[in-house]
């Protein structure tokens, strides 16, 4: 699955909010190289700039400085048309499934949007229906039970699974998953993660997890980036970073998480 082509990389990517005395550097000259098929986690506490970085990768926020390269070329998303092209390749899943939906539109509309975006807007309805059914069955949902429903009529788990069905239809090259399981019950978490892994295997997608949960990062990813105050303080394979952390910040982060087989040392705070 993993080959060595670089799919997304960045040099000196920086985002500054405000100016003068109110200046906040959210992301501070970060460099990264994400390879195709590799599972990446960006771990940071709130305020570390991980969400801003994710939005820059998605092209929702433009960097103040630095370049982002997509598929070996400098990313150009200056016009709406170019953005659309870019977004065919990179998609996202957000933390709160419910807030990801427009509550005034039925769930079918979400899936139909995806078909349209892949250029299937003019297909006969039967074909569209077939595609929607396939996407739903991929995430273990029955399309018949969803059609004509509003998002609030679905449970949180169903909502998040439908978001994955959306990704299935869009088949992007990169998926940014911003805390995809933090609002989901522990028991449904495994299902969601399995489906995301399934997407990687089926459509060759590169998933990037943005999370505060270092345990989740360790469990799912090949490569882990630890972010603090807008910078990557440590990166490497999951085993390297989590089991043999080199940086003090990573060690502190790890020691602050309650574990099962290791004493949780409360005296260190």
């Amino acid at each position: 699955m993993k080959d060595n082509t670089v799919i997304l990389s960045g040099r000196g990517v920086t985002k500054v909010f405000g100016f003068g005395a109110n200046k906040t550097v959210a992301v501070d000259h970060v460099d990264f190289t994400f390879r195709k098929g590799e599972i990446i986690s960006i771990v940071g506490e709130s305020g570390s700039g991980k969400t801003t970085l994710a939005k820059m990768l998605l092209g929702l926020v433009s960097p103040t400085e630095g370049e982002i390269y997509f598929d070996g070329e400098l990313r150009d998303i200056r016009t709406h048309k170019k953005k659309r092209e870019y977004w065919k390749n990179i998609q996202a899943i957000f933390q709160d499934p419910f807030s990801s939906y427009n509550i005034f539109r039925k769930v079918d509309a979400v899936l139909l949007d995806c078909i349209r975006m892949r250029g299937g807007g003019n297909l006969p309805y039967d074909e569209k229906l077939e595609m929607m059914k396939r996407a739903c069955s991929f995430v273990n949902l029955k399309f018949e039970e969803l059609t004509n429903k509003y998002p609030f009529e679905l449970s949180g788990g169903q909502q998040q699974r439908l978001m994955i069905a959306r990704i299935f239809l869009l088949s992007p090259k990169i998926l940014l998953a911003d805390e995809p399981t933090s609002m989901i019950d522990a028991c449904s978490r495994a299902t969601i993660l399995d489906m995301l892994m399934g997407l990687r295997n089926d459509i060759g997608m590169t998933p990037i997890f943005i999370t505060h949960d270092i345990g989740l990062a360790y469990y799912v990813s090949d490569t882990v980036y630890i972010m603090e105050h807008g910078r990557f303080v440590e990166s490497g394979t999951a085993d390297q970073v989590i089991l043999n952390p080199k940086e003090a910040y990573t060690r502190r982060l790890l020691s602050d998480v309650p574990k099962l087989h290791e004493e949780w040392d409360l005296s260190t705070v």
């Binding site: 929702l60 709406h80 977004w87 998609q91 957000f94 509550i103 975006m117």
Partner: protein, 417 residues
């Protein structure tokens, strides 16, 4: 949607406001189907006719059949109707002032009082402390006493067109009655007439309609401007936002009403139709809607569903229309309701100052207030010319605000009890 409507009508406040408002609206729509008089047609000669049924005297004399009713106390009621207790008191005062001993006057004895009066009253006599108005009052009173106690029939005579002599054409006895329904000409003035002799009710219904239209037009103009500016400013942000916020702040610090007066004045009397006034009110009152919409949009534009809509390749216009507008729609509807109610009040305020629509074409609630005030209806106790207008304005704004509060409770469950 259906659920929301049901929720809305379950709110007591909204329902009360809605019923009041619909009653007013239906009256405005249905009344003209029955009363086809022009609302500004002058009907009465003489101003401020009191509310009541006006029966044509000529028709009622000639009306046939005529009915005879023997009613207990008819005569005394007739006397009481012409010679009230106040008049009797006044007569006693005059007589006492003239020197008639007080204990010889029995004001309850009509015949005695009139006899005493006729033998003593002298219109040329000026008693101490008597004003001209008092004197005129006594002269009028004396005239009205004529034939008060008569028991004879009245003879109706008409001039013979050939000889020119008067000839008796009919006799009206004191027990003759006509059925008002059979009199071809009678008119009910529920709210009397105004200073120009126009039927207040017809005028009021028409004025309410015009004021509502002014309110709707002004409200829609203000809400549209506010909505567009707020959406653009909040969603696009950056320099556009800065400019719009600057203009909005500028308008916030200028008192709207002063601006309204200046614009109305500069338009000039001739150009000021109801529609112009509505537009002027609209373009001066979009500020708060803009600010409110902008604030909402700013909080919405970074929501996940908007980001996801962007990622689905939707255009800015689509996102504004589908992903932002529905979320603020309830807010905009409430703003519209408030704008309508404040526009109606603004029109009333302008018209009272004489800066409302020009007065010859249509009545508005504000204009009716202005006429009432100019002709001193409120001082002269002609309540019907001004009080109903105030009541209608109060009811409209009250019902609109009640609906607004009710909607607020539906849309913000935190406000429910």
């Amino acid at each position: 949607m259906k659920h929301l409507l049901r929720q809305t009508f379950r709110s007591g406040k909204f329902l009360v406001g809605f019923v009041i408002f619909m009653t007013i609206l239906l009256t405005v729509l249905i009344y003209p189907l029955f009363v086809k008089d022009p609302p500004l047609g002058i009907i009465s000669r003489g101003t401020f006719l009191a509310p009541g049924i006006y029966v044509n005297v000529y028709d009622s004399m000639n009306s046939s059949p005529r009915y005879t009713l023997i009613l207990e106390g008819a005569a005394s009621r007739r006397v009481a109707g012409k010679l009230g207790d106040d008049d009797r008191q006044a007569m006693q005062e005059w007589l006492v002032a003239k020197g008639v001993p007080e204990d010889s006057i029995d004001i309850a004895d009509t015949a005695g009082l009139i006899a005493l009066w006729e033998s003593n009253f002298d219109p040329s006599l000026r008693l101490p402390g008597m004003t001209n108005a008092d004197r005129n009052y006594y002269i009028r009173l004396t005239a009205s006493l004529e034939g008060l106690l008569a028991t004879e029939d009245a003879v109706v005579a008409a001039a013979n067109p050939e000889t020119g002599a008067l000839e008796e054409i009919g006799v009206i006895t004191q027990t003759d009655y006509v059925n008002v329904g059979e009199v071809p000409n009678s008119r009910l003035f529920v709210l009397g007439t105004d200073n120009f002799g126009r039927d207040v009710l017809t005028e009021l219904v028409s004025a309410t309609g015009v004021s509502l239209i002014i309110g709707f037009v002004a409200g829609i103009v203000a809400t549209t401007i506010g909505l567009i500016l707020g959406l653009v400013s909040g969603y696009i942000g950056g320099l556009v936002d800065d400019i719009i916020v600057f203009i909005t702040n500028l308008f916030t610090v200028i008192p709207t009403f002063v601006l309204l007066i200046l614009i109305s004045f500069s338009i000039g009397q001739e150009q000021r139709g109801a529609f112009t006034i509505a537009v002027v009110i609209g373009v001066t009152s979009w500020v708060w809607t803009t600010r409110a919409v902008r604030a909402q949009v700013v909080s919405l534009r970074n929501r996940d569903h908007v980001n996801l809509s962007k990622l689905s390749g939707h255009s800015v216009a689509y996102i504004l229309a589908m992903d932002i507008l529905p979320y603020i729609a309830s807010y905009v509807v409430m703003a519209l309701i408030l704008q309508i109610s404040s526009a109606i009040l603004a029109e009333a305020g302008l018209s009272i100052l004489g800066l409302g629509p020009r007065t010859t074409e249509v009545p508005t609630l504000g204009l009716m207030m202005r006429w009432g005030l100019i002709y001193q209806a409120h001082v002269l106790n002609y309540w019907w010319a001004i009080f109903p207008v105030i009541l209608v304005i109060a009811l409209i704004t009250f019902s609109l605000n009640l609906m607004n509060t009710g909607l607020d409770q539906v849309f913000n469950p935190a406000l429910r009890e």
